[in-house]
Amino acid sequence: MKITAGVKSRKEAEYFLTNGADEVYCGLVGLRNNRLPRENFSRPEDLKPVLELARRTGKKVFVAVNELVREQEHPETLHLLAELKELGVDGAILRDPALLAYFKKKKFKFYFTLSTLANCFNSRTLAFFARLGLSRIVLPMQLMPENAEKLIKNRYGLETEVFCQALYYGVNLDSLCTLPCPQTSENFSKKFTDFTCLLPYSCGKDVFRMPMPPPEYMFGAFYDYFHLGVGHAKVARWPNVLREIDLFLKVRLLVKLLEKGVSRKLFIHEGLRLDAKPLQYGKSFTLKSLAG
């Protein structure tokens, strides 16, 4: 299983590529993606050292265009992606069917990955997107392996990628959530410091928390995904790189365990020993980057 890590700078790309990541992905100012501009590379030229390192080490670099792109921006997006392809970028991560349809119409071929934000939960949804020309799909964070077999063993020959849900799980469906939080909100001017999905709520005499599956279940899910043939594990691009590195090292260890062929029971046991604490989105989404 290959590991894909999100990066915000050259220095972060160097760290991940020299510490076991097989691929990195990043945003670029000018390409709409679901991170703030300060978390993106500024110009295509800034990617050159990352691409050179990737080439030297036999690794890959992708760019994220995982937001909806307005029609008037389609030509410019195509132009920029064509430039990046020429520079040596290996592919792009998208979610917008209109943009994919535009690329298809323009006969622009690239290695396209369908973002997890597209919420592809079944094989017919995959068929809907696959006809637009995909090479890989990132399975939704809330899809579990028992429902994913047809997506993984799909008839389009698409590669698949998953998150290690036990270590990073979206409580609600990200792309459909309009509750305020520091990461996204429909009203970006209204800065909200807490994650609504992690707060306690009073509910009569009880306390309610938005639920997530138990960690045992999620470690089991990652084990099952590996054995179903998922080829890539994703470590998302977090503003706080120290937390991302921590996550990356844990995922790297888990992948090694899987490749060693440990039993499901042992894998879950080791996973829980490694990390069984609740999510701390707040810390992960506080900007701390490796500049450069």
């Binding site: 029609e71 209109a98 809330q142 409580v171 009073s202 509910c203």
Partner: protein, 230 residues
């Protein structure tokens, strides 16, 4: 203006013919949970208390859920001439187009429209033409604003606006792709003064905040959420 009311299948036992008087149609199913897909028995129960039109409501589907939806389509599209269905899953939309062409009347549900209302209207209008979509669902001003330039009509939900949903059901404590006993019941009020300045309401596996009916030139139908007392 058409007046409709939205019912989950398990709420059929809580409504009477009297309660449904005055509505032009009943929405039956669920937009967020695939376990709310109506069964043939649910349609029969509704027919016994409501003689008018039924709009079938569907959610995002797992593979298993989509199989059940495909069975439902097979049955209804053979029998029913005017089959209107709210769709929130790209795969179901594709299935309707590929297998049933113009036989069904798909309506884009709130989950899909949240995604595509932001798209350019030229693309949205041509997409709707291609898939035979004449109306879409909405429940808030931002989406109505984004729909400016859309050539179809809007069905507006009140008194609750959808805010978020999980595939992991708070009631079932399992994924919604697992079978359930439909134990979600009445809305649950969640209070936290830090959030939004208003209460959240948990209904099934989705979270809502209160909203109000609005007037807008695109709105041709109101969809009232049936609320049973806690």
């Amino acid at each position: 203006m058409e007046r409709t009311i939205s019912l989950a299948p398990f709420e059929l036992g809580l409504v009477t013919a009297e309660r449904l008087k005055g509505y032009d149609a009943v929405y039956l199913g669920g937009e967020f949970c695939e376990n709310r897909l109506p069964s043939p028995a649910d349609y029969k129960r509704l027919a016994a208390i409501f003689p008018g039109r039924v709009v079938t409501v569907t959610s995002i589907f797992s593979e298993r859920g989509l199989g059940r939806a495909a069975d439902l389509l097979k049955k209804h599209l053979g029998e029913q001439k005017d089959f209107e269905i709210v769709v929130n899953d790209w795969g179901l939309l594709r299935l309707l187009k590929d297998k049933y062409g113009g036989k069904a009347r798909p309506v884009l549900g709130r989950l899909i429209i949240w995604e595509i209302a932001r798209m350019d209207k030229a693309f949205l209008n041509s997409f709707c033409r291609e898939y035979g979509i004449k109306s879409v669902e909405a429940d808030c001003e931002p989406v109505l604003k984004q729909l400016s330039g859309y050539k179809g009509s809007v069905n507006y939900h009140a008194p609750y606006r959808f805010r978020s949903t999980s595939r992991y059901c708070p009631h079932l404590k399992d994924f919604v792709s697992s079978p359930c006993a439909r134990s979600c019941g009445a809305p649950v009020r969640l209070k936290n003064p830090k959030v939004l300045g208003e209460d959240l309401f948990l209904m099934g596996n989705a979270y809502f905040t209160p909203n109000r009916p609005v007037k807008h030139r695109l709105i041709r139908r109101t969809v009232e959420t049936f609320i049973r007392e806690p």
